[in-house]
Subunit: 461 residues, 2 copies
């Protein structure tokens, strides 16, 4: 495209600000919020440190504790009324040594790109050596039964569905294999589970993530292999029996104290009503947790930075929360809600960013059945203000960490960024700063700040 001038100046055909409850002033204020955010390097610089210098920060790890201290030190500079660390008990998991997964076909051995799944036990010192049986679902394991599974390694190979436009729906349609595959295999005497990585990309990158053991089943190891390796393995299994060797040294189970990191600006008119912005500070141990969820953390921090920058004085109490342990336990989110409930703190609204630092596309609103429709009607008046930023309002989920606040009957919201590339990086070594675009990251923070501003100004009446 070589064209020179403002050919792209676009006239929106929907009437902007047709609603009576938002004013031209709001549009100008939201423009100011965007201007301040888009000319700040802060969010990206913070994310760089979190992702590249601190790196992968699984709850309970040294890196996670560094991330706690680092984000607290940022908060200390942001003019909060109060900054504190809220203790929460996390269950640690250690990957141990690099996973060994080798397939043995005739006289050849072929190494696979694999990662143990979070919460998985390790193999014995000698590893596991067994035949592989491929399935496309948990149900198929039930059908195979003990006869087809006992003594074998079960290979779950149902791909994420590329025809889902929102990739989170494709993830939701495949991830049961990763979460429950190991226990399902164990139910019929399977020795381990191997799952095709949860991604729409076709490459050599394995994706970790949580597995959940059923209490009534023996625990067997669970791992993920890359999509290229899954295709390779599947092709081989069509030709002949394949034996696989697995060795891992994961050590799950011990507990440690960690922290949510919280900053609070007391509201000038309604200090008893809290508007929360947050992301989760922990990530998987591989990669830098840049999109998941370093981006959400710096989005939330940038909200405060931007409100400071434009000199906004909130009427409600604003809290910025870095939640700990979303990835493998949700201890931070649960503890936060428990403490809030004990103290009779009311969250008028909680907004989480946990879909990556990509370009923002929508806010997804959720709440308690009792009053959600009223809240959604209230916020829907603001949609014209977000139109020129390409952001829609919709109903659906919000965020895992703020979910436990639902019973408070406030409004919950999740920032939704463009999902097309999310699972190219999710839970991998590739989730690093170079996968994040600074402007896209900034636009997400500006969108969150705009929503905070409107909720603070108008409430949810």
């Amino acid at each position: 495209m070589a064209k020179y001038f403002l050919i792209f100046l676009v006239v929106f055909t929907s009437p902007i600000l047709a609603q009576s409850t938002v004013s031209d002033d709001d549009a100008l204020y939201i423009k100011d919020i965007h201007n301040a955010t888009l000319t700040s390097n802060q969010a990206f610089d913070w994310l760089y440190h979190l992702s590249e210098n601190i790196g992968g920060r699984l709850a309970g790890s040294v890196a996670a504790e560094s991330a706690v201290e680092y984000t607290k030190s940022i908060m200390d500079t942001l003019g909060f009324t109060k900054v504190w660390k809220q203790p929460c008990e996390v269950v640690r998991w250690n990957r141990g040594e690099k996973e060994q997964v080798t397939v043995h076909i005739g006289k050849t051995f072929h190494e696979l790109n694999a990662l143990a799944l979070g919460n998985s036990i390790g193999t014995s010192e000698n590893g596991i050596y067994a035949d592989v049986v491929e399935v496309k679902s948990l149900e198929e394991v039930d059908k195979l039964g003990r006869e087809g599974v006992e003594g074998k390694i079960v290979f779950y190979n149902r791909p994420m569905d590329p025809t889902k436009i929102r990739t989170f729906n494709a993830y939701g349609g495949a991830v049961d294999q990763r979460v429950y595959g190991a226990s399902k295999a164990a139910e019929y005497g399977g020795l381990a589970s191997i799952v095709r990585s949860m991604t729409l990309a076709q490459d050599d990158v394995p994706h970790t993530g949580t597995l959940v053991y059923k209490e009534d089943q023996p625990k067997v190891p669970g791992l993920a292999i890359s999509t290229n390796d899954a295709n390779f393995l599947s092709a081989q299994l069509k030709e002949q029996p394949v034996k696989m060797y697995i060795k891992t040294s994961c050590t799950p189970g011990d507990t440690a104290q960690s922290y949510n990191v919280i900053g609070e600006i007391k509201g000038s008119e309604h200090p008893e009503k809290i508007i929360l912005v947050g992301g989760h500070l922990d990530s998987w141990d591989v990669g830098g947790g840049a999109h998941d969820d370093g981006s959400g953390c710096v989005h939330a921090l940038q909200v405060i930075q931007t409100l400071n920058e434009i000199g906004y004085r909130p009427r409600h109490t604003i809290r910025c929360v870095m939640f700990m342990n979303e990835e493998n336990g949700l201890a931070g989110g649960r503890t936060y809600a428990e403490v809030a409930n004990e103290k009779n703190e009311f969250h008028l609204a909680a907004i989480e960013s946990d879909s990556g630092g990509f370009v923002p596309r929508s806010f997804s609103f959720d709440g308690h059945a009792e009053n959600f429709n009223d809240f959604y009607a209230a916020v829907s008046k603001w949609t014209p203000l977000f139109e020129s930023y390409g952001i829609l309002f919709e109903t659906g989920g919000s965020g895992a960490d703020i979910g436990p606040l639902k019973n408070q009957k406030g409004l919950l919201a999740g920032l939704r960024t463009d999902s097309q590339k999310y699972f190219d990086y999710h839970h991998t070594d590739k989730d690093r700063i170079e996968a994040v675009n600074k402007r896209e990251l900034q636009l997400g923070a500006a969108a969150m700040t705009s929503l905070v501003y409107l909720i603070d100004k108008y409430g949810l009446e």
Copy 2:
């Protein structure tokens, strides 16, 4: 984000298919179009070859001729009624040897990352060695006048405005420096122009692009330097005078025959009315022209592939056009319209993709003042069908190559993809296949196919 299941299943609150003129069948058909496109590797594979094996393909170059033959060979497999090459005369430009740009400060020399601008003349064999004067606009050169400019190299350093949400608007607000800077410098005796690269990224990558010489001014060389180098140079100029050495060996000016590549499916009911899809086949000589505009070319080719895949038989004549020479002359677009007018061919609609292979965000519609409003009212009925794909309709520009068809009084449309990263790659060595995401590319093609389907089915009544 560790959540397991369909938390992201989203309920759209706007009523889908509220309009009477679109049917549930259309929604299903458009879903089929997306399914077929999202499960095809073709667009990405074609783009890989165009970008990585053929590479940068400035009109009149050997690579451009390879691209003509390659896309014609693809068209030959796509079941067109007719495929042909339409001759057009292009003006060639050769960059020559690698540009030398060195700043001389006190006793130190510092090399800058630079690219000559398209259409620029080269320097003499000895190069140019002169003082640098920094300006922020063409008007500032007028103010400096001969006294401030004569015998100097003029350095244009007004950045693109990061607060513009659509980056094309930021580009539009800065690119006059690149296009007209050299002639403006020459007007007052300047020896050359150096322009800050047209990008919002802060890095070492220089961006080329066209300059236009004014006929009444002497021609002087024009180059772009990276944004990092522009900041460095500007900082140095605040401290002391800076001399610069420039040497280029560009050779503009000779003409060559090249081609648009055209494939046509005769319409079953309205063969005399044409619906055109296209992109431009040429690119700058640096990089692979992956986003600009290899993506647009493979979008257009994929439209045909997908229509074939789902067995759609068009009522109108469908043309797929690879336009030549958009970047530095528009010979292809102009020739195409001239020939069409001579032959009394009527284009009911023309859709161009030339904003990169990023995730599609909107169609921008344009047309002749006489009937555009009616057309836009007609297509606006289809907006609910694009909602779940995140695509809006708006009015504005369409595409440079199809612009000359405007006098035919058909409908013009441009596919608009997300613009945030476009100028990170635009006209650089970085515009290569690794900057393109396969799914995002596929979604753009599916959007174009859906629009073609609706125009073909309903016309523009």
